[in-house]
Symmetry: C2
Subunit: 398 residues, 2 copies
């Protein structure tokens, strides 16, 4: 694996993930290297990431360390988690960003628009929590398959792009009968396999269009390849998988796509059951929070207990913190500017802690009145965990 | 000059600016190299910067290109301007950030606190416009000495740290009679010269303490050396020079410091006059805005005219855009979340432009009712320019 070394971020990265991982799902990191605790090299498409802040689970899955999340209003791009369902396309798709094309279908006029054309139609910036459906998978008791994410398959990001509704307006509106927005990623599919079993194509309810963005920037810079550049669909309040990278088509459809990732993938189901279209799809996120500092130890005296909280599809309203494993709770204070309905809010609770061991938990409530439960039901794929007990940390104060 | 090449940002930078520039004010870049248009290497302490987005004026002055400012709510750290009055200290001061010490004086108790102790006293995040007093110097007619900044000696940054008032509270409050907050930077002063002529020590009115922060993070990451890490004083609404880097002392004083940078430096004065303490000090910023896109050319048709606007010491209230050199104005729309009183707000005006040449200007108004003037008075050092006419851009639409 060639790691390109350069001081300028996201520049001069040659080749793409395709040259690193030839087949979807193959592990670029040998289990032996992991077991030996060797220093792992990051694949070239994420070589610019802040290595000390991330856990490299595989070539396509990087998790932000809990203590590296800090109490920031936004997650710096170089600390943000990465999760690709397929290897990223070749870096060459970023050579001429404005030339990237996306086809819009299911509108009065169907059209293929370049990114340069999209930029003339409008501009908006929205902060959203980007979170993998499986964030918190490690906290389930059964051994769910997939990356054992703890809390770091999530971040809060500023996206800049054109609102999808502005594009739709320019094309005469959505055709009658459409119930879903169905979008397709531009990943290169391996030959010889059924495309429907691999393509990253997701349908979300049409209503999600209202807040959706076709984004070309994140945190004020052009979208890097690892995060879907040159163009990504952002569906605020929805789980990560619905935020299609390298988006090449957005269609307004009567039915959900028959791609496997939609029909049986990303479905909430009892342990042991197969995925099916009648199960809950991983669309809107639920309310959630976790402590980011302290995580393991602290000096006795005044301690600033910090974390992040978000409301899912609705704004977060409040968050409580417990230092006694949930027996008593105190209301925490939000820190920093409010970036809007779909952003997370850092929080802090100041506490005087004597030497001892503390189980520190947090519990958020959103504006719809939903509060994090103590436990979350086991489910086959380990999705959607927002139970506060398993998200708690054990902190030694000395 | 050794440029350390590494894919991990802000890591493994060896040496410091001191090894690049031995004496304050010395130019590390030869005029010959500049004249020849050669590719300039960035000094090691800023080698991690996004080189294509910045203009390297000297080893201690980097400006963000106008078109790289974009319409972002915050300025990515790797695109933010740099202006150091003295060479940055050695990178080794970041080896143990929590051990950094700052002395607080002029409070009931005087104390030296470590960064680790500061972190126990409170935490807040504030977005501020960081702007050099000389931003816009290039737009004055007389040849003011100093870096010929255009618009890019400014950015909007999220700072995280402890409010100064929380520190002061913990030390029993400010002593009677104090009228200023006087803070000192930790730069290493060259031997054999009068320290008062070089030290970066600035006094601001005591009232500025209310919003001030001792910050250890910017944009969610530990403060880099180039921007004052491990600890920087942030004075929201005040010009950059008051935001002391490597801050090692904060004193509450009856009088302004007698350091040269305060007594005669950073004073607003008529052309040809020497600096003196009775002239206006570069404290609170004024209301300002500029267009960031398009800057030189655009395709005919619908165009999203974008820029940034801020109110200075007061929040920005509105911004107007003119496409005819100021003969007529239309109200622009703010884009993205409002990060608070001291942040800038990106704006957009959608216009249908036929082929031709347009002089595009913007004019902001703050909540105190101040509006950008058409012209700004010439002054000796070229400070504080917020005249809208000179900030306009000439755009060819074809």
């Amino acid at each position: 694996m060639t790691e390109v070394i350069d001081s300028r971020r996201r520049k001069l990265l040659v080749g793409g993930a395709a040259s690193v991982v030839a087949v979807a799902g193959a592990a670029a990191i040998s289990p032996r290297a992991l077991a030996a605790g060797e220093k792992k090299s990051f694949p070239s498409y994420v070589a610019w990431k802040e290595q000390d802040s991330l856990i490299l689970h595989s070539a396509q899955t990087l998790e932000t360390k809990r203590e590296a999340i800090g109490a920031s209003v936004i997650t710096p791009t170089d600390r943000l988690f990465v999760r690709n369902n397929l290897p990223a396309p070749d870096e060459s798709i970023l050579a001429d960003r404005d030339a990237w094309q996306v086809t819009i279908q299911g509108t009065k006029q169907s059209r293929t628009l370049s990114l340069a054309e999209l930029k003339t139609l409008g501009v908006e910036t929205v902060a959203t929590v980007l979170q993998c459906s499986g964030n918190g998978r490690a906290f389930f008791d059964h051994k769910a398959s997939g990356t054992p994410w703890q809390v770091g398959a999530a971040g809060c990001v500023l996206w800049t792009g054109v609102p999808v509704r502005k594009v739709v307006e320019a094309l005469g509106g959505v055709e009658k009968g459409a119930k879903f927005m169905t979008s397709t990623g531009g990943e290169v599919l391996p030959q010889g396999l059924d495309p429907k079993s691999l393509v990253v194509e997701r349908s979300v309810p049409l209503a999600a269009m209202e807040n959706a963005l076709l984004a070309w920037e994140m945190n004020g810079e052009p979208l890097p390849l690892a995060h879907g550049g040159p163009l990504r669909l952002i569906v605020p309040g929805y789980y990560g998988v619905n935020n299609i990278k390298y988006v090449k088509q957005v269609a307004f459809t009567e039915r959900e796509t028959d791609a496997k990732i939609q029909t049986s993938g990303y479905r909430m189901r009892p342990v042991g059951e197969k995925g099916a279209p009648d199960q809950l799809s991983m669309w809107e996120m639920n309310v959630k929070s976790w402590v980011t500092s302290p995580v393991t130890s602290a000096a006795a005296g005044r301690v600033q207990i910090q974390g992040v909280a978000f409301g899912g599809a609705h704004a977060v309203k409040s968050v409580e913190v417990s230092i006694d494993g949930g027996r008593s709770w105190r209301k925490a204070r939000f820190v920093g500017p409010d970036l809007g309905q779909f952003a997370w809010r850092p929080f802090v609770l100041e506490a005087e802690l004597k030497p001892g061991t503390y189980t520190i938990a947090s519990r958020a409530t959103n504006t719809k009145g939903s509060t994090q439960p103590e436990e979350f039901p086991e489910n086959e794929r380990g999705y959607g965990h927002n139970g506060w007990r398993r998200h708690a940390v054990e902190v030694t104060v000395a």
